[in-house]
Subunit: 594 residues, 2 copies
C-alpha cells in the first residue's frame, strides 16, 4: 500500500488527564476511609499525586509511542516461539524496572501495597498508552493473585517473587473451543504422576500473552480435568505449568512440553499475542484443592473484570485525546464560535463533551468498585469488610460492562470526529475503535455481566446490596441539596434517576427468572446511568467543600451528564414492563425474515 | 498467521429478508400513490416481488461469496493501474448483465424506470452481499444523474448509454486534503483550452473506485477552479474527464492524463479501492454552468445520501443474519428457554430482537424518503410534487444518518453475539463492524446531516415541512387507534413520541443559531426514534387491513420498538433545554484535562 505522504503524519502522542483522575480519586470516593485503614498508613494525596504523575510520564514516554507500531507489526510465531512486536521487550522491561506491576500487591510478597484505587488510576494510563502491552502485566497480576490465594507455600515461594516484580509473567489457560463463557465442558486432561506432579494434555485457545519473548519465563495456570473427576464445572482443577522448569535454586531448566501452535488474526490489540496453546504431557502442579479449579479462578475474577472496565475507559480516553487534538488542528468550514478549527463547530464540541462526560462517569464507577475492594480487603472491622465486599461484588459487573461499552462508544465518536481521516488507518483513530472492541467480550461478555448483576448480585440476596447502594445514592442527593454550589439540575436528575432505579429494582426482584434475564442488560444500563451521575455529583459536592479549584469544571461535566446520560434510565425502564413477551413473542424459527 | 483449523469455517452465506422488505414496501409507504402515477403503469406488487426475489438470488449467489475474500485481498495499485480484488471483475460483469444498475433510471436513457422504493429494496441486498463492490455502481448512478441533469446533449449521448448499463463506470472527484466536508477550498485548477475542452490539474483524495479494472472506461466528474473564478464555493466548476478518450463513434482512444497514485489503507471496505488521483493537464469537458459545480453535485446528493443510509441497514442486516446463524449453532451454557444453542439465552435473543427492530425502523425511514422522492420526481400534480420534494429533503438527512448509525450499532451487537469468535477475523463479524463504520462519515458526516436537518430543512422554512410530517404522524396515530389490531402499547408510545417531537421542534425553531446547532444531533435522534416507530405502526395497520399473514410478526417488532426505541426521544429532549451552555461552558482550553 502506498503511504499517502501528503497527509500530515498525525502526532500520536498522548497525555493522560492526571488532574481529572486525581480529582475523582480525591472527591468521588470515600478516600479518607481507605487511607484511614492501618495498612495504608503513610499514603496521602501528595504521594498519590506523585504516583499518578510518574505513571503519566511513564505511559506517555515509554509505552504510548509503541502503540501504533505494535498494531502495524503484530507478534509473530516463528518456530514455535512468539516474537513480540518491535520495542515491546524493552518497554516491558522498563515497566518492570519502574516497579509498576505490583503497586497494589501486598508488601508481604514484595508489592508496593498501595490501594487499588490508585492502581485504577495508573493502569488506565498504561492501557491508554498501550493496551496490547498492558495485557501482559494484567494477566501476570491475575496469576499472582490466584497463586497467592491458593498455592502451597513451596509453590508460592518458588514463583511469586519473580512474578510480583514482573521478571516472569503469568498466563491464564481457561478457554477451549467448546468451553468459553461456560468452562464446564473443559476437556484438557490431567494425570497424577504420583510424585506430586501432574501431566497436562490438551489444547487451549484465546491465551493472551500465552507465549512471548518479553520475559524469561511464563507461568501458566491451566484448567484441566482429572480422570475420575465429576462431569461439568465441578470436575475441573487448576494446575501451574511453567514454560521453563525452575529448580530449587530458582534457576531455569528445561522447557516444559507445551507451546504456542497458532496466533489468532484479530480485529484489534494486534500487539498482544493471542495464542493457541498445545499441552502434550506438560508437567504441572496442582493449585488449590482437586476439582476446585473454577472457584480458584474466581478469586481473581472481580479484579480482572474491574480492570477490563478500566481498559474501556483507557482506550476511550486515548481516542478522546486524539479527537480533541484533531479538532483543534483541522480547519474546515465556517465556524460560529470564534475558533477556526473544527472545534469551533458546536456539533464537534458537543461530540467532545459527550466523550469526556461518558468517560468520566464510567471512570467514577470503576473507582467506586475499586474503593469497595480496598475496604473489603483491608478494613479492620468485619461488618465493614462484609458490606464492602457486597458493594464490590455489586459494582464489578457494572464497572466491567459500562466501562467497556463506553470505551467502544467513545472510540467510535472519536473516529467520527476525524471524518474521512478516521476511516484511514494512518491517524490511529481506527485502531482505538478496533482495540476497544475486545473489552465488552473478554472476562465474561457484557451480557454475562448483566446476568451476574440481576442473578447473583441482586436477586440472590433479595436486593439488600442494591438497597444499601440506593441508600448511599440518596445521601449523595441530600449532600447535593445542602451544597453551597448550585446543583439543582443535577440533583433533580439524580432524584428522578433514583426513583427509576428503585422501581426497576423492585420489578427485577419480583420478576420470573425469564423476565429478569430478558431485562438484565436494560437493567444494568439503568443502574450505570444513575450511579455514574451520582458519583460525579458526589465529586462536585466534595470538591466544593474543600474549595478544589477544578470544581467548576467538574460541575460543567456533571450538568452535561444530568441532561444527557442520567435521563437514559427512564428510557430503559419501559422495557421492563413485559420483557419476556418483547423478547420471545417473535417466533424463533422466523427470525431470519418475517 | 497460522489459521486456527479447529475453528469451524463459518458458513458466510447470506439470505436477504425478502418477505420483510416486501412487507415494508407494500404497507409502510403509500405505495398506491406511487404505482398510481402514469410513469409506473404496469408496476404492481407481483412485479415488485419478482424483482426483489431476483435481487435476493443474485446477491446471495454472485456477490455474497466474494465479500470476505475481497476484505482479505484488497485492491492493489500496480504500475499506476488498480487491480481489483479477485473475482470482482466477473461479479461486476454479472451485475451489469443482469441489468441491476439502472432499475430506477428513466427508460428514456435506457433504464428500467422502476420506482426508487424498489431500488432501496434491491440495493440493500447488494450492499449486504458486498458493500465494497456495491459502491462501484453507486458512484456510477450518481455520475449518471449529474450528467443527465447538467450535461449538454452531445456529452449525454456520448457517455450515458454505456454508463446507464454499467459498461463504463463513474467516479466523483471532489475531496482534496484541505477540502473535505467543506468543498470551498478546492484548489484543483481548470484551464480553458479554447476548443471546448479544459485542462485539469490537481490532486484528489478519497476517490471511491477512482481506478479499477472491472470496466473498460471510467468517467470522472471533477470539481476544479477556473483561473478567474471567485474564491470559495462560488468559484468551483464541474468537469467530465474520461479515463480513456472516446471518439465520435464511441470507440476508446488514448488514455487521459490522470491516474491513481495511491490507495488508502482503510479500516474497512477493503474491496473498494479508495484512490488518490493525480490530474496532470487532464482533458475535461465542462458540465453545467461555469462556477456552478457545487450545485450540480448537489443534484445527486439526496439520492447518494439516501443510499448511504441503505448501506448502513444492509451491513447491519448481514451482521444480523450472521449473528442469528451463530446463535443457532453455538452451544454454550445452560439455557432456560428450550433450545440448547445460545439463542436459548434470553440476553442473546434480546440482542437479536434489538438488531432486527433497529434495522426495521431505519429501513422504514429510508423507504419513506425514497417514496417521497418517487412522488417528487413523477407526480403529475405540481403541488404534490412540491410537497413531496420538501418531504424528501426533510427525510434524507435522517435516513442517511439514522441508517448509517444503526448499521454501526447493529454490527457491533452482531460481533458481540459471537463472543470471542467475533473478535477474531475468521467469522466475518469483525468485517461488518469495520465496513459499516464508513457510512456515518461519507456523503456528509452525520453531524453535517443533523446540521442540514435543523438548518436548511427545519428553520429555513419555519418548520412547515416538519409540521406537515407531524400531521402525517398524527394520522398514523389515529389509524392505529381505529385498527382492529391491539396496538395500544404502540399508539401510546407514538402519542408520547409525537408530543416530544412537537416540543423539540418548537424549541429548535425558537432557538438561537448556536443553541440550534448545539442540539442538532440530539434533535435528529428524536425525530428518527419517533418516525421510525410511526412507519412501522403504519405498516402493521395497513397489513392488518388487507389481512397480510405476516402482520402478527410485524406487530411483535412494532411493540419492541415502542418499548425500546421510541422512548429514547424523551431522553434526548432533556438536552434541548440549554444546549449552548451544556456544550460550551466547559473551557475549551482545558478540555484535555480538568
Amino acid at each position: 500500500m502506498c503511504h499517502i505522504t501528503f497527509l500530515a503524519e498525525e502526532d500520536m502522542s498522548f497525555t493522560p488527564p492526571v488532574k481529572l483522575i486525581k480529582f475523582l480519586i480525591e472527591h468521588s470516593i470515600d478516600l479518607d476511609s481507605i487511607l484511614g485503614m492501618p495498612i495504608f498508613e503513610g499514603v496521602n494525596m501528595d504521594l498519590i499525586g506523585d504516583v499518578l504523575s510518574a505513571a503519566s510520564n511513564f505511559s506517555q514516554n515509554k509505552w504510548a509511542p509503541l502503540n501504533w507500531s505494535g498494531d502495524q507489526n503484530p507478534a509473530k510465531l516463528i518456530d514455535g516461539q512468539v516474537i513480540s512486536s518491535p520495542g515491546f521487550k524493552e518497554a516491558y522491561k522498563d515497566f518492570v524496572d519502574a516497579e509498576w506491576l505490583s503497586i497494589a500487591t501486598s508488601t508481604e510478597v514484595g508489592g508496593m501495597g498501595l490501594p487499588q484505587v490508585i492502581k485504577v488510576g495508573t493502569d488506565e494510563m498504561f492501557y491508554a498508552a498501550n493496551m496490547a502491552l498492558g495485557l501482559c502485566p494484567m494477566l501476570t497480576s491475575s496469576a499472582v493473585k490466584a497463586i497467592l490465594a491458593h498455592a502451597e507455600s513451596s509453590i508460592r515461594n518458588k514463583y511469586l517473587p519473580k512474578m510480583v516484580c514482573g521478571e516472569w509473567t503469568g498466563a491464564m489457560c481457561l478457554t477451549e473451543p467448546q468451553a468459553g463463557s461456560d468452562l464446564g465442558p473443559v476437556r484438557t486432561k490431567a494425570v497424577d504422576n504420583g510424585d506430586g506432579t501432574y501431566s497436562i494434555t490438551g489444547q487451549k485457545i484465546y491465551i493472551t500473552w500465552g507465549d512471548h519473548d518479553v520475559a524469561d519465563n511464563i507461568i501458566h495456570l491451566v484448567l484441566a480435568r482429572l480422570p475420575d473427576a465429576p462431569l461439568g464445572s465441578k470436575g475441573i482443577s487448576l494446575f501451574l505449568c511453567p514454560k521453563f522448569m525452575v529448580d530449587e535454586k530458582g534457576e531455569l531448566g528445561s522447557k516444559n512440553s507445551f507451546s504456542a501452535i497458532g496466533l489468532e488474526h484479530k480485529l484489534g490489540i494486534h500487539g498482544s499475542p493471542t495464542c493457541v496453546m498445545e499441552f502434550s504431557s506438560a508437567k504441572g502442579w496442582l493449585i488449590g484443592e482437586v476439582n476446585q479449579g473454577l472457584s480458584c479462578m474466581f478469586t481473581m475474577m472481580n479484579e480482572a473484570r474491574l480492570f477490563v472496565g478500566v481498559q474501556g475507559v483507557a482506550i476511550g480516553e486515548r481516542a478522546y485525546q486524539a479527537a480533541l487534538q484533531y479538532s483543534n488542528d483541522r480547519v474546515q468550514g465556517r465556524t460560529i464560535s470564534g475558533k477556526d478549527a473544527i472545534i469551533g463547530h458546536p456539533d464537534i464540541r458537543r461530540s467532545l463533551m459527550d466523550m469526556k462526560v461518558k468517560l468520566l462517569g464510567a471512570r467514577a464507577v470503576c473507582l467506586a468498585a475499586a474503593a469497595a475492594g480496598d475496604i473489603a480487603s483491608h478494613s479492620t472491622d468485619e461488618d465493614i469488610r462484609k458490606n464492602a465486599h457486597v458493594r464490590e461484588a455489586l459494582l464489578t459487573p457494572i464497572a466491567k460492562s459500562y466501562g467497556s461499552d463506553i470505551g467502544v462508544e467513545v472510540s467510535s465518536i472519536g473516529l467520527q470526529v476525524h471524518g474521512g481521516m478516521g476511516f484511514v488507518e494512518e491517524t490511529g483513530a481506527a485502531q482505538h475503535y478496533r482495540d476497544s472492541r475486545i473489552a465488552p467480550i473478554y472476562e465474561g461478555t457484557n451480557g454475562i455481566q448483566a446476568i451476574d448483576l440481576v442473578g447473583r448480585k441482586l436477586r440472590r440476596d433479595g436486593g439488600s446490596g442494591m438497597h444499601a447502594l440506593i441508600v448511599d445514592l440518596k445521601k449523595i442527593y441530600d449532600l447535593a441539596n445542602e451544597s453551597s454550589y448550585n446543583l439543582t439540575d443535577c440533583s433533580s436528575a439524580l432524584k428522578e434517576g433514583i426513583q427509576t432505579l428503585e422501581r426497576a429494582t423492585d420489578i427485577i426482584l419480583q420478576a420470573d427468572e425469564i423476565d429478569a434475564l430478558s431485562s438484565a442488560t436494560p437493567y444494568l444500563n439503568i443502574v450505570a446511568s444513575v450511579i455514574s451521575g451520582a458519583f460525579i455529583i458526589k465529586a462536585v459536592v466534595n470538591g466544593a467543600i474543600v474549595g478544589d479549584e477544578n470544581t467548576d469544571n467538574m460541575l460543567s461535566l456533571c450538568r452535561y451528564h444530568a441532561k444527557s446520560i442520567m435521563p437514559m434510565a427512564k428510557n430503559s425502564i419501559e422495557f421492563l414492563s413485559s420483557p419476556n413477551k418483547l423478547v420471545f413473542d417473535f417466533p424463533m424459527e422466523q427470525l431470519a425474515d418475517l
